[in-house]
Amino acid sequence: MSRKISDTRVSRRTVTAGIGAAALAGVAPFNIGRAQGAPLKVGVLLPRSGTQAGIGQDCQRGVDITVGILKQMKMPDLQIMNADTETNVDVARARAEKLIADGAQLLVGAFDSGQSTAIAQVAEQKGIPYVINIAAAPPITEQGYKFVFRNFPTGPMILRDAFLNQKEIFALVNDQPKTAVMLHVNDTYGMSILGGTKAMFPRFEMPYKIVEEIAYDPAARDLSVEVAKAKATNAEVLIAVSRLNDAILVTREMIKQRWTPKSVLSIGPGWYEDQYLKTLGKNADGPISFVPWYDPNKKATKLLEDALAKAHAGIGLNTNHVYTFEALLVAADAYKRAGSADPKALADAIRATKITDNVSPGPGIQFDAKGQNDQLKCSAIQNRGGKLVTLAPKASANAKPDWPLKRA
């Protein structure tokens, strides 16, 4: 009995423990409140210097305009922590580690497949969510990673849509070209597109036959021979896989050598970039590019276009801005739904993403079990009077194809 009384007696230790527990219970809700109110720390890794500096800086424009747009969309604040990968895989890995050590709660980047692969390894190892803005190499989302997500089409998705969009355009113009010549740069990108084309071409039953493949060095400064060789094939269309400088060189040579095929169908960069349009003026009109682009008819696109025009007048909205914006949108949306910056909660929230008010073509942003947005669509865009119009897919189109190619 005495023992019982003794057991129920309130000791000094019990009082201290009780006060401690009460204090914890009282403070805990405020802690959660702070997590929701504080901005999410997002480490943005981009090649801001080195050979991809121009593209990295263009992606940065996407970052700059995103903060204001997220506010308009009533999304939580993001605290951007910038890092430069210097267009180098090892530097990308080191910068990702440093960002995490400095408190980054989520990573975004890094334009290039090699650099993104390195960052993905770090993110997975440290258990920090990573949203890829631009990188097309399929293996990144084939590793079984739990913290890596990609809202950008893979190489095979880009090629698949290129063939589908070409067929849509041929049907629209009621013309089925019978022959094509493929002029491609012989770097990693050019060779992978060539390999992919060879592997996928038979499946799509394209109306044309590729009569010749002409490879050239990315450092070539004169492409007169390449164009002469392509012209000599008498192919109806030119399929180009190039970068910016060589796209300009090929166009110049085509004009000088008076070669006007029915169309230039470009798979990849170069032919639609601002610098191409500015350098060639009216001679830039006509080529059709098959690229990851944006849907000009979506509501959020207008927001992005207006914000870009205000911040960087004279620069047209492009892939770099769109997919960098969407990567940050995914981060903000997940943070809003998770209600916490806990990495696991953020990763789970990203996995459950369903954003329909977005900019890229397709039904919206969502991720499959591998962390890939497999519903994304690529577009066919055409240069017209220094601007770009979307020809396909039909749901995203805002113009009819100008066909065949005309030269002054």
């Binding site: 490879a215 060789k229 400088n245």
Partner: protein
């Protein structure tokens, strides 16, 4: 493939080769007289190209109009460089000369990077897209103008060395350095003048190549190498050899690209070099040491 395709490509290669020849001529002249290999040759060419771009964008001056003024600027630059810096290295071992000129090349490349950035640049003249059609032959107007200008500059250089007293004195220096000193020639001044002439040549070639190619700061080393290949093929120190080497390399690049794969152009250029070194080590028109 139709015959006219071969003809078009060969003519294009010939015209580009003539400008290559002028570029390599500068290197050959400098080595033939001063006995210093200019490892900053391509970088000096890019300086001329950027000067032309600046004058074109600021004053709207056509590259062909700027040919003489820019060659003059490079002449002064080359003279100052030789007189103030390279001259003190003339008697030093070759590796010292090599390091000095490589250092100058690196400084020039990085200076251009800081000023102009890494992007490719070019000039867009009213005739940038012009070509002449003669039957089935289509000739690039820019290449034609550039090749014509290269021939004129080369002819003037030949005439200078052959018919002027200074040119004869420079040739005397090249033939017999000690003899030139004995007869009282100002060898240091003549060396500086030769380096200046070589620089002016590459400056003129740079302006003309700008009408054909885009320029980036990183272009220099590739053209230094190309100039070497040309002068070694043609004969180091031989002026006609440089021109012949330029034409040979220009046409080889063009025809190899057409007959095989364009990405194999450089391979054939270096194959010619190896062949010449094996069969005639002094170069096609070079003199045996």
């Amino acid at each position: 493939m139709p015959l006219d395709v071969y003809l078009n490509v060969a003519v294009g290669g010939l015209l580009t080769g003539l400008v290559y020849g002028l570029m390599a001529l500068g290197l050959s002249v400098i080595f033939g007289v001063v006995r210093v290999v200019n490892f900053a040759h391509g970088e000096m060419m890019t300086i001329a190209m950027y000067l032309a771009i600046t004058l074109f964008s600021v004053l709207g001056l056509d590259p062909l109009v700027m040919l003489v003024p820019i060659a003059a600027v490079l002449f002064v630059f080359g003279y100052a460089l030789q007189a103030k810096l390279i001259n003190s290295f003339i008697t030093r071992p070759e590796h010292s000369q090599f390091l000095l000129l490589v250092a100058i090349a690196i400084i020039l490349v990085n200076g251009l990077l800081i000023i102009y950035g890494p992007d490719a640049r070019n000039v867009q003249t009213s005739y940038s897209f012009d070509s002449f059609e003669i039957g089935r032959l289509i000739i690039d107007a820019n290449k034609l103008y550039a090749a014509f200008a290269a021939l004129v500059v080369t002819a003037l250089l030949f005439a200078f060395f052959r018919f002027t007293a200074t040119g004869t004195a420079i040739r005397a220096c090249a033939d017999n350095h000690t003899g030139a000193l004995v007869v009282g020639l100002d060898v240091k001044k003549l060396y500086a003048l030769t380096f200046a002439l070589g620089s002016a040549c590459v400056g003129a070639a740079g302006v003309m190549l700008l009408m054909i190619f885009d320029v980036t700061p990183a272009l220099g080393p590739a053209y230094t190498l190309l100039a070497f290949v040309i002068v070694i093929t043609g004969g180091l120190g031989s002026m006609p050899g440089a021109l012949l080497g330029g034409v040979l390399i220009g046409m080889t690049e063009a025809l190899a690209g057409l007959l095989f794969q364009p990405s194999m152009k450089s391979m054939f250029t270096f194959a010619i070099l190896v062949l010449v070194l094996l069969i005639r080590p002094q170069g096609i028109m070079g003199r045996r040491a």
